[in-house]
């Protein structure tokens, strides 16, 4: 029994240690973004020799939003003779096909791809669409995004730098004021992009390609084997593929595109579960390549590992909570330092919500979100929610690894036009 208690206590100490490390990492990011030297993106470079781009928009039952993104893209200021827009109708059963075909009939540079056979899902859809275009650069948007007029130019210009393999822009929710969930997600997005991504770019660590509002070199991605159709987070996979093979990913904080945040907790739960599952799949695939890569320096490897393990924090916390409950009923809490208990609980609020409260506070400060900062304490609502669904995603990824089962793509439900109809 003593051994069991020792193991349980040791695990709690381990949890606290992990959380302290992550908190320290995020504190460094926060200070760097708030008062350190900022690395500017390439948006101020002007060049008439722009590369040919193909804008891929994976769509599965996107009738509520398809029209909006196409309207935004056709008004982009990128030269038409160098632009191809490929809406990928991926096994849709609603009016997506009709909407896309209607636009294709009106605009020559919109060339839809209708997929009715083969495997459904974003990675498979991107793989197929890439083979249909002769563009050098692939730009990707999810169907609910609303890119600004200059977004394509801003994304494409970074590829003038021959070291750049992929670029990622900033995601900004457009429906923030809808309800409590969208407001909380806005805070999380702010912390994730304004501080986390920009600080990693400043510090020359590993900014992440996020699979939307971004682009990559087609040849490089094809040479690296394209996207793995079994991966649920093809964006994270690409980030690591590029870095371990010597390519850079840059973050463009100035290149903002609006997205529709989930307005329903059930939709959000499925989304973060998929993210956690996909991210963990990538973790299993890339731990060794990151450690072995000759293209990464030590600080990049350390950051790469921190990023790979970020979704593991939730199951670690979840098991820690179970652990502390057992210790409580065994009467061991009175012996265990209560400081550890408090550190443990403090950790809940640190990583259970993707980012510590001070990181989100500073991000909102920089964004000028004076009033939304007051919603910070409400992140506590997300604590059990995120921990539970991220843990579920994590354990699903372990089952994926053991059983080698095929992952099924779960599309995020849209809300935008529903509201307009109502």
């Amino acid at each position: 029994m003593e051994l069991v208690v020792l193991i349980l206590k040791s695990y709690l100490v381990f949890v606290v240690g992990v959380m302290i490390l992550y908190t320290a990492r995020h504190f460094i990011f926060t200070v760097n973004r708030f008062m350190g030297e900022q690395m500017l993106y390439y948006q101020d470079i002007v060049d008439s020799e722009l590369p040919r781009i193909a804008v891929l928009i994976p769509m599965h039952n996107e009738e509520l939003v398809a029209k909006h993104i196409l309207d935004h893209l056709i008004s982009a200021d990128y030269p038409l003779d160098k632009t191809e827009i490929i809406p990928i109708n991926d096994h849709s059963e609603d009016r997506t096909k009709e909407i896309v075909d209607e636009y294709a009939a009106r605009y020559k540079h919109i060339k839809p791809l209708h997929r009715h056979s083969d495997r459904r899902g974003k990675p498979a859809a991107l793989n197929e669409a890439m083979t249909l275009t002769d563009a050098e650069i692939i730009v990707v948007f999810d169907a609910d995004y609303l890119p600004a007029k200059g977004t394509l130019r801003d994304i494409a210009i970074s590829f003038k730098d021959p070291e750049i393999g992929a670029v990622m822009g900033r995601v900004v929710p457009e429906n923030t004021s809808k309800n409590l969930l969208t407001r909380v997600l806005d805070l999380e997005r702010s912390g994730g992009y304004q501080v986390d991504q920009q600080a990693r770019y400043n510090l020359k660590l590993l900014p992440q390609y996020g699979g939307t509002v971004g682009g990559f070199r087609k040849k490089v991605v094809l040479d690296l084997g394209g996207f793995d159709p079994n991966m649920l987070t093809e964006d994270t996979e690409l980030t690591y593929k590029l870095f371990v093979n010597g390519w850079k990913v840059v973050y463009a904080n100035r290149v903002e595109a609006y997205e529709e945040s989930p307005e329903d907790w059930n939709v959000r739960s499925r989304q973060i579960r998929r993210w956690a599952r996909g991210h963990t799949q990538v973790m299993f695939k890339f731990i060794l390549p990151v450690l072995k890569s000759e293209h990464l320096v030590m600080k990049e490897k350390i950051d790469g590992l921190f990023l790979l393990f970020v979704y593991s924090a939730s199951p670690i916390l979840f098991l820690g909570l179970c652990d502390s409950l057992i210790l409580f009923f065994l009467g061991e809490m009175k012996i265990l330092s209560s400081l550890l208990m408090f550190l443990f609980v403090a950790s809940f609020n640190t990583l259970g919500n993707f980012a510590p409260f001070f990181q989100i506070g500073i991000a909102s400060f920089i964004d000028g979100g004076t009033y939304r900062i007051r919603l910070l304490p409400l992140l506590i609502f997300n604590f059990f929610f995120n921990m539970l669904y991220m843990s579920m995603g994590f354990f699903e990824a372990i089952i994926d690894l053991i059983t080698k089962r095929e992952s099924k793509w779960d599309k995020t439900t849209r809300f935008r036009a529903k509201d307009k109809k109502n």
Partner: protein, 280 residues
């Protein structure tokens, strides 16, 4: 490098607020874009300054924590004495860290088998049926978590009531030690979180002071309520009190105080050109 075109600085403002020879719709001031704006670097001694901010609180708490625990127990005793005989409530002291702390030995109520079964049965729907009720998911999960702890506790009291490892004195000991650590933790975590913010030491000092003061009052009241619940209602509720309304709740007001202060600073900085730097 500056992106600010400040006509007021050029001293050429016209009476209606527009620049001479300038169309009225042109902006007279272009603020830094949020993408790369930052605040001025506060200089080399930032860590030392933060230590200076935190240290007085740590010293003060280490000096007065025995007295604070005495006040806590006096309050708890006062709360309990209306319902229980004063002979059954005793303030004890024992060593902790540098000096002695005070804890309370008070009555506890063991749950009857009937009461335990009722709690067991009431906890089940909290876990199983909560999904069916139309309620915001995080709150539903919170209720499920509370129900789960109560379920575990009731199972424990059904199977092995005599083995429950805590009495009021031990719970008091656990609570008081946790509370002292929370008080020590507040200046550290607040000091770190407030460290990068563009404001003087005095306001930061006041924010930390206010948070600690709140924590002391909250900690004292909560202690009395917890001891009253386990004495008057049941010992069965001890786990739920500790895990759900214990240290996790302390984080709520710590973050609340922080967010309110950052919000005030953000409002001030919003239109203050001097508050912001560009890139370097």
């Amino acid at each position: 490098m500056s992106l600010i075109i400040d006509n007021k600085r050029n001293g050429e403002d016209s009476p209606n607020g527009t620049h001479k020879n300038q169309s009225p719709d042109l902006k007279s001031l272009i603020y830094y874009h949020r993408a790369y704006r930052k605040i001025s670097n506060p200089g080399r001694y930032i860590l030392l300054k933060s230590l200076i901010l935190i240290a007085p609180f740590l010293v003060a708490i280490l000096l007065i924590y025995p007295e604070l625990t005495f006040i806590m127990n006096k309050f708890a005793r006062y709360t309990l004495i209306s319902s229980f005989s004063s002979d059954s409530i005793e303030i004890l002291n024992k060593p902790y860290m540098l000096r002695n702390i005070y804890i309370l030995d008070s009555p506890t109520k063991y749950p009857s088998p009937l009461f335990t079964y009722i709690i067991f049965l009431l906890s089940l729907p909290g876990i199983v049926l909560i999904r069916k009720i139309k309620i915001v998911k995080p709150i539903a999960l919170w209720i499920a978590f509370l129900s789960f702890i109560n379920l575990l506790s009731s199972i424990f009291f059904i199977l092995a009531p005599a083995l429950f490892p805590y009495n009021a004195e031990e719970f008091s000991d656990l609570y008081i030690k946790t509370q002292i650590n929370i008080w020590l933790f507040i200046p550290v975590i607040m000091g770190i979180a407030l460290l990068p913010l563009p404001s003087g030491h005095l306001p930061k000092f006041l924010v930390i002071s206010a948070t600690i003061l709140y924590s002391v009052i909250f900690g004292i009241v909560r202690y009395g309520v917890f001891l009253y619940i386990i004495a008057k209602f049941s010992l069965l509720f001890m786990p739920i009190l500790f895990f759900s309304f214990g240290p996790l709740m302390d984080f709520f007001y710590i973050v609340s105080g922080y967010s309110l202060y950052v919000s005030i600073l953000s409002k001030k900085a919003g239109r203050d050109l001097k508050a912001w730097n560009w890139l370097y």
